[in-house]
Point group: C2
Chain length 217, copies 2
DNA sequence: ACCGCTATCGCTCATTTGGGGGGGATTGTT
DNA sequence: AACAATCCCCCCCAAATGAGCGATAGCGGT
């Protein structure tokens, strides 16, 4: 509701970071023609923090490959300077490495450059409404990170062993675990020995690493 | 390309799992009227595995709250029986718990029931193209899981200490780390001592737990 | 030239841990 | 009744580890 009012009273302010001059100017033109206010377009993002502080754009379109600081760093700068600014990545890269670096830096959306203009407008609208516009292949990658590996879980830990493991992965020592669970010191060790066997590891550190990486918790 | 051909030759097959009779029938009607082939609509998903094996739907719309097995279990069943079937959750729930359980089970999309029909068709199209349609608020939740906590990292570990820590979180022993890094046993121990101080922990297990949970790696 | 920091290595000592035994109690299955 | 699985407890020993000392060498900043 508030948002719609806002849209009627003043145009959406957008900043563009993109080092390809032609593309950047095309984008600015396209957005301006569609009643967006382009507060500025830049061919590098070294000054991104100051720019968003001064012009307070609602949305930023951010390329990744630019001279100077990369767009990934750019997102971080912007999110630190003005968290309310929504940042949509706009890039040709679709490798996991760059994608997840951007997401970790706080990007609100991730569009591939092959996105048609109509979808671009949709995306801007969506991010303004609190969404997270992503190109289909990107969204798929993101969801896939949640899928469990099928083989990972079944180590047939008994309930009690699972419980001990949960204390272990908090970094607690045997002695502490024993007192937390109201067990004898040697009982906990006994459980641990069985856990190590079932996980095919030979010390607590390996067990913690394996448990946390394969989410057996 | 292949996909478009497919669309022209035969309608998209859809199965619906939804325990609200009125809603389920409305959906089936709506889809049928728009040239989709509804292979079946069901008020519970206990037999989901067999159903998708027999009718081989391209897309499944899956509710969560149903009598018998929950829709979350339903996704898992379907994905195990026929991974090629795209499953779109269609539910009123937007709590993190259920959301991430569905994603872990392998859901390909997640729509809230307040989604207007037009968007529903868009979503079906998107999932067929290999995307991951999500309601805006859901997509935002998903992206937020990637954002780093800002305060977490800066423990001022030196480059060398970081390197030692990276070996440590793989579960390696001091002796192994020393040989991997071509260092003396006591040097590694020395680094570890400093790491423990900087991380405010007092043993390797705690360090591993902290490093993995706060992604200092 | 001095200082601080890091990286490297060394030495003790007490504690923790892993690996190997063993046994008894309970429960559910065959 | 026999059996397997789980849970609980105990002992011993060798290795790994944490904590406390100290030392040298290099490197950059003042």
């Amino acid at each position: 509701m508030v948002l719609l009012l806002h849209l009627f009273t003043m145009p959406v302010k957008i900043a563009i970071f993109e080092d390809n001059d032609r593309l950047r100017e095309s984008l600015a033109y396209l957005l301006t023609m569609n009643n967006y206010e382009v507060t500025g377009d830049y061919n590098q993002c070294n000054e991104a923090a100051n720019i968003v502080r001064v012009y307070q754009p609602d949305v930023v379109l951010m390329d990744i490959d630019m001279p100077g600081e990369s767009g990934i760093k750019g997102v971080a700068l912007i999110k630190e300077a003005r968290p309310d600014t929504a940042v949509i990545m706009y890039t040709v890269f679709e490798d996991d490495e760059k994608l997840f670096q951007c997401l970790c830096a706080g990007a609100n959306g991730y569009l591939l450059k092959k996105t048609p203009p109509a979808k671009l407008f949709d995306a801007i609208q969506e991010v303004l409404e609190g969404g997270a516009p992503m190109s289909p292949s990107i969204a798929r990658k993101v969801l896939n990170t949640f899928k469990n590996k099928p083989e990972s879980n079944n180590y047939m830990l008994s309930p009690r062993e699972t419980e001990v493991l949960q204390w272990l992965i908090k970094g607690y020592s045997i002695k502490i675990i024993a007192s937390e669970m109201n067990l004898a010191f040697d009982t906990v060790r006994s459980h641990l020995k069985n856990i190590y066997q079932k996980l095919h590891v030979h010390c607590g550190k390996e067990a913690i690493a394996k448990a946390l990486n394969e989410r057996i918790v």
